[in-house]
Amino acid sequence: MIKPYKAIAIAAFTSGLSLVSASALARDTVNIVGSSTVYPFATVVAERFGRSTDFPTPKLESTGSGGGFKLFCAGIGTEHPDITNASRRMKSSEFEMCQRNGVEAITEVKIGADGIVIANSREAEQMDLSLRQVFLALAKDVPDPEGGDTLVANPYAKWSDIDTSLPRKDIRVMGPPPTSGTRDAFVEIAMEGGCKTFEFIKALEKKDMRGICHNMREDGAFIEAGENDNLIVQRLAQDKEMLGIFGYSFLMENSGEIQASTINGVGPTPDTIAAEQYPVARSLFFYIKNAHAGVVPGITEYAREFTSEGAWGDNGYLVDVGLIPNPRDVRMDTAKAVRKLKPMTGNEL
């Protein structure tokens, strides 16, 4: 009859005990946070690293670039992550936040690039678009075509309505849903880039400007296709009128059926993306907390695996996952800097 009471007492005691031992804990696994765009590359490296060395496989959390920096810059100590991935460069405000919290020495590693393409079927006419035209075709609200600094609901139905040089075809574009990193990047680079060509929008507060630029059409011209980029490719092959937005790696795999539109006159190729000539491209980075190297085992070794030719080189396994490698001389310099853990000065940002 006393049993329930005893059980409660024991349970309460053990739970108290486990709480006490929670503090002060050494860590032997590298903790990585950051961008969901870099996540597929970093997980492949982490798993390879875990399988081919005696170090445990690093733990990866996909928190987004900004969330990653926030965690990374929170301080020194094993409760904070060792490496953060980012699909953009660290901002100087983030660098200062790091400095304030004692995260002084940080090594920056540029791992390569990622391009987003707007493509259609090879049997249709290849499009040549500017970012401004992309914005006008896909934004929910656009500047009044009659002139003036006011916004109206997007009136464009055909591409030729935007610019007479474009084909007389309905605007129908399939793209990724808001949960996707590709969508974030597309909205931030292409839509915002096109949007900022309007002076009065550029002059707005950042928040208001984003509200206008990041809002995609909801009247059926822009079709959310789900996370499956394969589906978009299949639809494009069937429907000649349709355009699709997806990551460069899918273009690469399906170049027999689809072709990419040139943007501002530049087509996506590994060279134009790596050189940042193609406008809808961005560099991918990761940042190492130097103070943790040597404390948490495996940090430098992981970074070396990432920066080895077998991984990020022209024929490395990351290319299979869709990474666009840096030019070889950039790779060589970066790999050298990684070996020495050369810290950032803050001036390069």
Binding site: M1, I2, P4, Y5, A7, I8, A11, A12, T14, S15, S18, L19, S21, A22, S23, L25, R27, T29, N31, Y39, P40, T43, V44, A46, E47, G50, R51, S52, P56, T57, K59, L60, E61, S62, T78, E79, E227, D229, N230, Q234, E253, Y317
Partner: protein
């Protein structure tokens, strides 16, 4: 004017209508059950039809000659040589035994994509553990590459697209005919943690993580919840303050779960400096989330114990504490367990609060304690469902089946416990 004859007439007339009404009412009830059952059947058919292939793995069994010369290896116990050796070469060589024409660089590349990406690691680990095997010939079972596996399992299914080249398809057909490529029970799924390679990915890591997390949740939420309920119901004075507490507990039960994650982030990680992504942390957060459910159901269970039991016990001179511990608690225990199991089932399926405390992560190692990084079943399903590789579609559905099995086991245990406790009283 009311005369009894017409009254009876009225009743007789309305009788048929009333019977009809009752029949209709019953029909609505049955229809409601049918709708629920129907959706359940659809759900299960969809999950099982999509997921059963997740329990099947495609393997490539090869006679591999562990040729030292081919691998640039003459001493397998030397770690430096191991690091520089080419363990893919003997696998390609073994495949070339079936396709002697495949000698060009491109062909070799395609051959190496027949087995999973970690096939060479398998050869390396074998040699590392048994350096004496160098030079011998071994039969090794490799997991097939994701694309080969999709082709073998799902060729012709419009839901899948075949990514193999025509040459590889021909090779695969040939190897299937020769029995080199075969399907078998997917034991990897039950013995591995997560992987980026569907053929190497398993649910065990998440299963152990869920078990550890749920353990912590139960150990904290149940005693605390029961103690709170007993005090509030049996000892606390009825005044404004206890009313205030009661209202707050009821409100807490309706708070969205992600709020508890924020709380965990701010308090457990921020103030107490607990490590991220560990089962203890997840368990604590989920315990806070389950606590109100347990308190409310425990209070209801205590209330339902008839007052006569309390009065009888008090009548023979039992103290208040004896009444509670010897009579009220054991009688209320089945009800408390039911409440706890509802709370635990809810916690088992939760991902939102765990996202904030870092348990939504890519974790390959199987957690070995309450303080090693872990993820839980619903998170694993979520991660797989969002992965690009086609092989993860079936794994996600298979993972759902494992989650449901876990849930049913947990419920069955609670029912068994309840039955036992009920029999004693």
């Amino acid at each position: 004017m009311t005369d009894p004859g017409s009254q009876a007439e009225l009743v007789r007339h309305s009788l048929r209508r009333r019977y009809r009404k009752e029949r209709r009412f019953r029909f609505y009830g049955i229809a409601a059950i049918a709708v629920a059952l129907f959706s359940l059947v659809i759900l299960f058919t969809d999950i099982i039809s999509k997921g059963y292939t997740g329990f099947i793995k495609t393997t490539v069994t090869l006679e591999v000659h562990l040729d030292g010369e081919l691998m640039y290896l003459n001493d397998a116990s030397d770690p430096d040589q191991i690091a520089m050796a080419d363990f893919q070469a003997p696998i390609i060589k073994a495949l070339q035994g079936y396709f002697p024409d495949a000698v060009s660089r491109a062909d070799k590349r395609e051959l190496s994509r027949m087995t999973g990406s970690y096939a060479s690691n398998q050869v390396r680990d074998l040699l590392k553990e048994n350096p004496g095997l160098l030079g011998s010939t071994r039969t090794i079972e490799f997991p097939a590459h994701d694309t080969v596996s999709v082709y073998v399992k799902h060729a012709g299914d419009p839901g899948y697209s075949i990514r193999l080249s025509e040459q590889q398809q021909r090779w695969t057909d040939e190897l299937v005919r020769k029995g080199v490529i075969d399907n078998g029970f997917n034991d990897v799924f039950f013995s591995n943690g997560d992987s980026r390679e569907p053929s190497n990915a398993g649910i065990l890591g998440a299963l152990v993580g869920s078990l550890l997390t749920m353990g912590i949740t139960l150990v904290i939420a149940f005693p605390v919840g029961v103690a709170a309920a007993v005090y509030l119901e049996e000892f606390a004075p009825r005044n404004g303050f206890t009313d205030f507490i009661e209202v707050n507990i009821n409100n807490l039960a309706a708070v969205p779960s992600v709020i508890f994650g924020l709380l965990g982030l701010a308090v457990f990680i921020g103030v107490f400096g607990m490590p991220r992504s560990v089962p203890v942390l997840g368990g604590l957060v989920l315990a806070l989330m389950t606590l109100p459910t347990i308190i409310i159901s425990s209070r209801a269970a205590i209330k339902s114990v008839p007052p006569s039991i309390r009065e009888a016990a008090e009548g023979i001179g039992a103290s208040k504490m004896q009444v509670v511990l010897h009579h009220v608690l054991p009688l209320a225990m089945p009800g408390m367990l039911t409440g706890s199991i509802i709370g635990m089932a809810q916690a088992l399926g939760e991902t939102a609060p765990l996202l904030l405390v870092g348990m939504v992560a890519f974790i390959v190692e199987i957690p070995d304690g309450f303080f090693s990084s872990a993820t839980v079943l619903p998170v694993q399903i979520f991660i797989w469902a969002g992965s690009a590789e086609q092989g993860f579609v079936e794994l996600a559905s298979a993972g759902i089946m494992v989650l449901l099995a876990f849930l049913i086991t947990m419920n069955a245990f609670a029912i068994w416990l309840r039955k036992r406790l009920e029999r004693r009283w």
